[in-house]
Each structure stands twice: as structure tokens, then as C-alpha cells.
């Protein structure tokens, strides 16, 4: 499987380093700022809170180890997302779950008349997470990832495109279908 995590492009500039540890360090700030987004992505991709917890830990640990190689060509957030996406993909491949996740039946939503511009109503917000997970599980992996990334307001279409290796225009083009598919599947979970 090809990695989408950028490999180091140059040697670190300085041999010395900031104070490690989560206490009050810059790494702690990085974790505080981005852990929610990374955990949520891992949770929805891996479909299991325990696996998401392990994955989030591993993503930040990887980030800590590679921090000196970060060249600033992307934002920290995008960089962390790249590590997380790659990590989750590797895990899914290792668990041989990928075929289970790509069991999307396009006919289900292609022929359905879903209005993506009308609001989505939910009565029971307690079960919202479960319903969202079910709907996401029914999507092709690409749509699932696109929706999760685009939902992050701090990411631009260009950044989502870079993370999914396509142009921003391609992202925009696929989003309409992804939204429609999600809406149809979400209504079926009711």
C-alpha cells in the first residue's frame, strides 16, 4: 500500500530540541489543538472506540518522533491528518477489513431521490453517533473520508484534495454524490 505520509525531505536544522513530555510543552499544545479531530477521524474510519484510542495514541507518537522532520510545507493539522489517514489505512489492510468497508451498493442511493439541500432531522441525538457510523459504513471508502475531512472547517478544499491525492475541483465534484449517498443511507438508519 502506498504511503501518503510525506517522508522527510531534509535533515533537521538543529541538533537540539524542545522539551518533550505532555505537561506544558508545545507537543501538549499540538495534542490539545488537534486530538479531537484526529480521534474522531480514527473512530469513524476504524468503527471501534478502542481501536480509535490506540490509533490516536500511535498517530501522535509517530508525530512526536517525526516532529523534527516537519518542514512546514503543510499545516500541522494537515500533517497530522496525513499520518492518521495512512495509519488507519494500514490498520484496515492489516485486519483484512477493507473488503468489508467497501461493500457499498451504489444502486441504493443512485436510484433514490434524496434531497441533499433539505435539513437532516434527528429525534434522538443519543443515537446520532451510531446512525452516522452506519451511514458512513455503507459508503465507499473515498466518500467516507471526503465527508469526514470536509466536515472539518479548518481544512480547505485544497487541503482535502492534497490529503486525498486529487484536485480541489475533484473534491467538489465528488462531494455532491457523497452527500447524497450519506443522506439516503442515514435516512435508512431511522
Amino acid at each position: 500500500m502506498s504511503s501518503i505520509v510525506s517522508e522527510p525531505l531534509a535533515e533537521p536544522e538543529c541538533p537540539d530540541a524542545p522539551q518533550a513530555g505532555l505537561g506544558s510543552s508545545a507537543f501538549a499544545e499540538l495534542y490539545t489543538e488537534h486530538s479531537r479531530s484526529i480521534y474522531y477521524l480514527c473512530l469513524r474510519l476504524l468503527r471501534d472506540p478502542d481501536k480509535a484510542e490506540d490509533a490516536t495514541h500511535d498517530v501522535f507518537l509517530k508525530a512526536f518522533r517525526k516532529m523534527g522532520q516537519f518542514r512546514g510545507e503543510s499545516s500541522w493539522r494537515t500533517w497530522l491528518y496525513q499520518i492518521a489517514i495512512n495509519h488507519c489505512r494500514n490498520l484496515l489492510a492489516a485486519w483484512q477489513e477493507r473488503h468489508l468497508l467497501s461493500n457499498a451498493d451504489e444502486a441504493v442511493w443512485e436510484n433514490a431521490a434524496a434531497q441533499t439541500d433539505s435539513p437532516l432531522r434527528v429525534l434522538e441525538t443519543k443515537e446520532l453517533g451510531e446512525r452516522i457510523q452506519k451511514a458512513l459504513d455503507g459508503l465507499p471508502a473515498e466518500y467516507r473520508l471526503l465527508l469526514l475531512l470536509v466536515a472539518d472547517e479548518k481544512l480547505s478544499y485544497e487541503q482535502v484534495g492534497a490529503l486525498t491525492q486529487q484536485s480541489a475541483d475533484a473534491v467538489r465534484g465528488k462531494l455532491h454524490r457523497a452527500r447524497k449517498a450519506f443522506t439516503v443511507l442515514f435516512h435508512q438508519t431511522d
Binding site: A20, L123, K126, I132, L147
Partner: protein, 76 residues
């Protein structure tokens, strides 16, 4: 006195149950799929154990090199 406390407690329980029912009955609307996902993400707590585990994991690791970039982004 005990009986009075019990009654108050029962009333409080009933009130909480009524509030819960009302909350459950009022539909929540999301203008888009993305808005719904953002709401879900915001209400999905990050397990605090991750930070504890991470702290233990990095404790014995050598600090990351490359302070130059670090400084530029964090000023530290």
C-alpha cells in the same frame, strides 16, 4: 423528615425524566451532512487515557530534533 426527603427526591427524578423526554422529543436539525458530522465530532469525547498513555510513551524517548521549524511554528 425522611419521608419528606424521599418525596423531594422522587419529584426531582420525575422532573429529570420529563426533561429528558422533552429533549428526546424535540427534533434537531442539521443544514448539511457536514454540520451533522461537526456536531457529532464536538460531542464525541476524546478518552483522557490517550493523553496519559502518550505522556508515558514519550517520557523515555529522545526529544525530537529540528528545533528550527519547531521554533518558527511554536516560538519555543
Amino acid at each position: 423528615m425522611k419521608r419528606q426527603n424521599k418525596l423531594i427526591s422522587q419529584e426531582q427524578d420525575q422532573l429529570a425524566a420529563r426533561q429528558q423526554q422533552q429533549q428526546a422529543a424535540s427534533p434537531q436539525e442539521f443544514a448539511s451532512v457536514e454540520e451533522m458530522l461537526r456536531h457529532d465530532a464536538l460531542h464525541t469525547p476524546v478518552p483522557p487515557t490517550i493523553a496519559h498513555r502518550l505522556e508515558e510513551s514519550v517520557r523515555d524517548l529522545p526529544p525530537p530534533p529540528g528545533r528550527g521549524w519547531w521554533r518558527r511554528f511554536f516560538g519555543g
